[in-house]
Subunit: 132 residues, 3 copies
């Protein structure tokens, strides 16, 4: 298992950043041909999912739907004002696994890897483990 990490700088409280190219770059540079690529987010108010990378409006709708479901302000007990962010992160998930074949991630036509910031702006870390 080879371990890498990348930094993601977010600029808003809620923001989706497509990191597909950054992950593919790591695969290319390590000459990783076949196996599994695992991506981990070591945070509790940011997550990672897979979704459409074509129309940027899908990202906007995604964040709007989550915001409507889980409002930022309510009678929360946690006093840091980010209880919504913790829940959104868990529902999104903290890791994704992608099959790599002949040096390319086996993603569907419309699939991209979305880093989901729910309590930014922050400087975030993403771990990548490649398993031959």
């Amino acid at each position: 298992m080879e371990l890498f990490q990348i930094k993601v700088q977010t600029t808003k409280r809620e923001e989706i950043i497509d990191i597909t190219d950054k992950i593919q770059d790591i695969i290319n540079h390590s000459k990783f041909e076949n196996g599994l690529c695992r991506i981990f987010v070591p945070h509790t108010t940011a997550g990672i999912t897979i979704n459409e990378n074509a129309d940027p409006n899908v990202k906007i709708d995604f964040l709007d739907i989550l915001k409507k479901l889980i409002p930022q302000s309510s009678n929360y007990r946690h006093i840091e004002g980010n209880s919504d962010s913790h829940v959104k992160a868990s529902l999104t998930g903290f890791s994704q696994t992608v099959i790599v074949q002949n040096g390319k991630m086996l993603l569907g036509t419309w699939q991209g890897l979305w880093f989901c910031e729910y309590d930014g702006p922050r400087s975030r870390t993403v771990l990548i483990a490649l398993e031959r």
Copy 2:
């Protein structure tokens, strides 16, 4: 790692199809005894989860609850009319991993693998990776 794929034909906009038997068939045919079975959905409006395979009403309630939470029509920006499907798919997730022991998936008594269609009817693909 051995890679397989199956086709799933869905017949409604929202539909849950238990694919546990199809996955077990692949394990049987490849004489896979011990290791991990990974299942991937390479789409952005369909997902995969694990849930009860006994009472079919659990599937109906599941889809109804999601539909009530995330309505199909709202002030969405994405004009294809499936913003709800994208969010439901991400909340469901796009991959599951199951331990295989002595040729059988280590699922709980009530667990089955649910293919979750959120924007059908469509012809869908599911990828299966077996790791010894």
Copy 3:
């Protein structure tokens, strides 16, 4: 792959139990140094996620937010009174994977492993697979 299991006794209908230490104990006892630790919940009304282990209020808010989103009572078809639990479990997820390096799980500073009971009190099982 080495396989272990632990028991988790829950005491309420909805409850989050941090099982990070129990998992680390298994890693310590098996002298597992580097690889992946996978955790599986073989149930359909309990799940596992990763979230903050510092302020216990995050757990309370988490359960309250889910309860408000998915009420226990509604016009559900499934007559066991736990349709909400099935959906909450699927949205939480049934497995997590963590990288282990030098005998320690590579979790973020605030991350802990949360066993999420949504239909307790029950005696639950958690499977742990260590892959060198």
